[in-house]
Amino acid sequence: MASLWFWIVAAMIATYVVLDGFDLGAGAIYLVAAKTNDERRRVLRAIGPVWDGNEVWLLAAGGTLYFAFPRLYASSFSGFYLPLMIVLWLLILRGIGIEFRAHVETPVWQDFFDVIFSCSSILLAIFFGAALGNVVRGVPLDSAGYFFEPLWTDFKLGPETGILDWYTVLTGTVALVTLVAHGSYYVALKTDADLGRRARGFALLCWPLQFFLTFSTLVATYFIRPEIMANYAKHKIGILIPISVVASLGVMLWANPKGKEKLAFIASSLYITAMLLGAAFALYPVVLPARNAQYDLTIYNTAAGVHGLSVGLVWWLFAAVLVVAYFVFVYRMFRGKVPLGEGHY
């Protein structure tokens, strides 16, 4: 039962990154790719009706994590106290950046919220990547299963780790580049003319970086945590992960110059999913590795009671069907290229 919830939470986090990832990425390229007010409104209209729903995946994944693995939630959230508070402030700023910009039509007001929106999107992408880096690298858990990490120490992987060290900065950069590419494919898909062309150009520029960073991160991860290979050696199905990563990178390279934005966007989504599920696959059944391996938090020592988890499965599946229905409905309502007429944003 705990294993099942492990994969449910992993899938929800992957869904969050794929969905909110494209609006974070769109935010990251926003200031440079969209130059005129019309173009900026177009980007905002492309993400406007969906960004809030996408962000709910973060809350829902968090809530589900809390429900299924309360000890993990308690330990990781209090240990990552400082970066999470920064993430909260960035989420707040980004939300009002998107929603309040259109309320006043003066250039200074709009430029101000444009900068807020774009900068918070960039920083969030980096912080989410660094968070994943922290989980893979391991944190200084004590015997009670708690820890507290400062924002940075000496940027080395010594006994006193910080949120930011060379490895997590690397994973943060991977996340930023990946989401910039992801957001660019989305903007290219939803807009046309100069804006669409510029977004495609961004994605093209990102590709070699993404390729290079993906492999250097994998090599670095192997060096700091060789045990990640164990599950891949044990379960043959794991081979699907590297195949998906390579294949999706290949499809992105091929599809983007040909103007097949939809295919490139789908490939990018597959790449993100494969990378995240690959990390989950490597960690399983550990959910938060400790620097001192005997204190590892696993699905076994953090999961909620079996009865609660079984009951939860019933309502979770019911709710998940509804959620998929809402998302299909909303994305169909706002499908196609973004028109620029009357309305908000």
């Binding site: 406007g48 009706p49 809030d52 729903g53 962000e55 709910v56 809350l59 829902a60 968090g62 809530g63 589900t64 809390y66 429900f67 299924a68 309360p70 000890r71 939630y73 308690a74 330990s75 990781s76 959230f77 209090s78 240990g79 990552f80 106290y81 400082l82 999470l84 508070m85 909260l88 402030w89 989420l91 707040i92 700023l93 939300g95 009002i96 929603e99 309040f100 006043v104 708690y146 820890f147 507290f148 909620a304 009671g305 009865h307 609660g308 009951v311 309502w315 979770w316 709710a319 998940a320 509804l322 959620v323 809402y326 409905f329 909303v330 309502m333 706002f334 009357e342 309305g343 908000h344």
Partner: protein, 454 residues
């Protein structure tokens, strides 16, 4: 008190209090917007339609602030209250996860359609999207109340061998008897905020002589809803809530009412200052026997005072609890008086021309916020010294590895950021109020009317 404990308590109290300023209006307005839209749809009346659209715009701004200030609430269960989460997450994780899966997705999916989809949707589909947002926001309220109800009166759990709480019965937990009345009381309070807000703006427009056709609708809808829900707030919801406190948290009742000594024929303190040192109420105005009557329906019933309970189980801030409770009840009583009077004038067709009453209605807008905040302070201070009543003391619930310095730093960060949010909110609401409910500017529409009458 340990300073880290105090900081973590203030951290949650401040962010929760600021956050709840927005959802109470969201939930109240959601109901009123559905009412306005239903009338607009059935009568095909443009003024009702414009009114619904106008309140939709205000709703949108308010909702955005509710969302962004709500995210920190979920996070803080882990960041600031990790021992509590580790202890009780196996039970309350149910409702917190359900809130995300059932309520947040529903709200977020249909909010965009409701706010920006009017042109793309048929009138009926647009009305349905408003209903979906209303249902989502009220559902969200229930999951939070059910979580709080578990902290007030834990049911449906068992203690696992490792000491943590785990779910024993889903339905016992979700249908906690405490949750039912608390939910009714809380939602009625939210409608009061919405009703006073809509009435106040209508009164402002009437006093300014602007958009009077819309303003009359605002005042009429607000006064009717305000009157109904102000009464429901006291009876039966407040009465039953009080009864539950009497039965399940008797020490809280004694502290709220400032009853230091157990006694038959217990008096109800209307005003007065609790004096902890001397264990009495100073300068009080009391109704003899009234507390016995309200709690046990008998004048001479014996009511247990604070002296009947060990001091370590007393709420830790009795004066604050006592004043919060009395402010809530006092304001609730005044709301009934205001709304009944307004309804009487409305019925006699005099309300729209009675300027002094419109002034009162306009100026009363902030008070439901104060009453709702005081009500929540009563509930949460009254629960002390417990985080989960009888099971986990507050002093054992916070994140011990998060120092008071770090907690203070982020608390100050939130205070600063929320001040900016509050200013932005008021600024944007003021712009909407200046712009007004009409889809065409006032003067143009008057000319239009003149042209038609000729």
């Amino acid at each position: 008190m340990d300073s880290a404990l105090l900081v973590h308590r203030l951290h949650f109290a401040f962010t929760a209090t600021f956050h709840y300023l927005f959802p109470q209006l969201t939930m109240g307005l959601a109901l009123l917007i559905v009412v306005l839209q239903t009338i607009a749809l059935r009568r095909n009346d443009p003024v009702y339609r414009e009114s619904a659209r106008f309140w939709g715009r205000i709703f949108g701004i308010n909702f955005a602030l509710g969302v962004v200030t709500g995210i920190p609430m979920e996070f803080q269960f882990g960041t600031n209250w990790s021992y509590f989460s580790s202890f009780a997450g196996g039970v309350i994780g149910q409702t917190l996860a359900m809130e995300g899966m059932f309520a947040f997705f529903l709200e977020s999916a249909f909010l965009g359609l409701f706010l920006y989809g009017e042109k793309r949707l048929s009138p009926r589909a647009h009305w349905l999207s408003a209903v979906a947002v209303f249902v989502g926001s009220w559902l969200s309220g229930y999951f939070i109340i059910a979580t709080d109800a578990f902290m007030q009166h834990p049911v449906g759990y068992f203690t696992a061998p490792d000491g943590s709480l785990q779910l024993a019965s889903f339905w016992d937990f979700v249908l906690n008897p405490w949750a039912g009345w608390q939910y009714a009381h809380n939602m009625s309070g939210a409608v009061i905020t919405g009703a006073f807000f809509i009435t106040a703006l209508g009164a402002f427009y009437l006093l300014s002589g602007k958009w009077t056709a819309h303003a009359r609708i605002f005042v009429k809808a607000g006064v009717i809803a305000g009157c109904v829900f102000s009464v429901l707030q006291i009876f039966p919801t407040g009465d039953r809530q009080g009864k539950m406190v009497t039965d399940l948290q008797p020490v809280t009742l004694a502290a709220m009412e400032g009853l230091f000594q157990s006694q038959p024929n217990a008096p109800l303190v209307i005003i007065g200052q609790p004096n902890e040192k001397r264990s009495k109420i100073d300068n009080s105005l009391e109704v003899p026997g009234m507390l016995s009557m309200l709690t046990y329906k008998r004048w001479n019933a014996h009511v247990r005072g604070l002296d009947a309970f060990p001091k370590q189980d007393w709420p830790d801030n009795i004066p604050l609890l006592y004043y919060s409770y009395h402010i809530m009840v006092g304001l609730g009583t005044i709301f009934i008086a205001i709304m009944v009077l307004a309804l009487f004038l409305l019925w006699r067709d005099k309300l729209f021309n009675t300027r002094w009453m419109l002034w009162i209605l306009m100026l009363s807008a902030p008070f439901p916020y104060i009453a709702n905040t005081a009500g929540w302070m009563t509930a949460e201070l009254g629960r002390q010294p417990w985080l989960i009543y009888g099971l986990l003391r507050t002093e054992n619930g916070y994140s011990r590895l998060v120092s008071s310095g770090n907690g203070t730093f982020t608390l100050l960060g939130f205070m600063g950021l929320y001040t900016v949010l509050g200013i932005l909110f008021l600024f944007l609401i003021k712009r909407e109020i200046d712009h007004g409910p009409a889809s065409v500017p006032e003067i143009a529409s008057n000319f239009h009317l003149l042209a038609e009458t000729k």
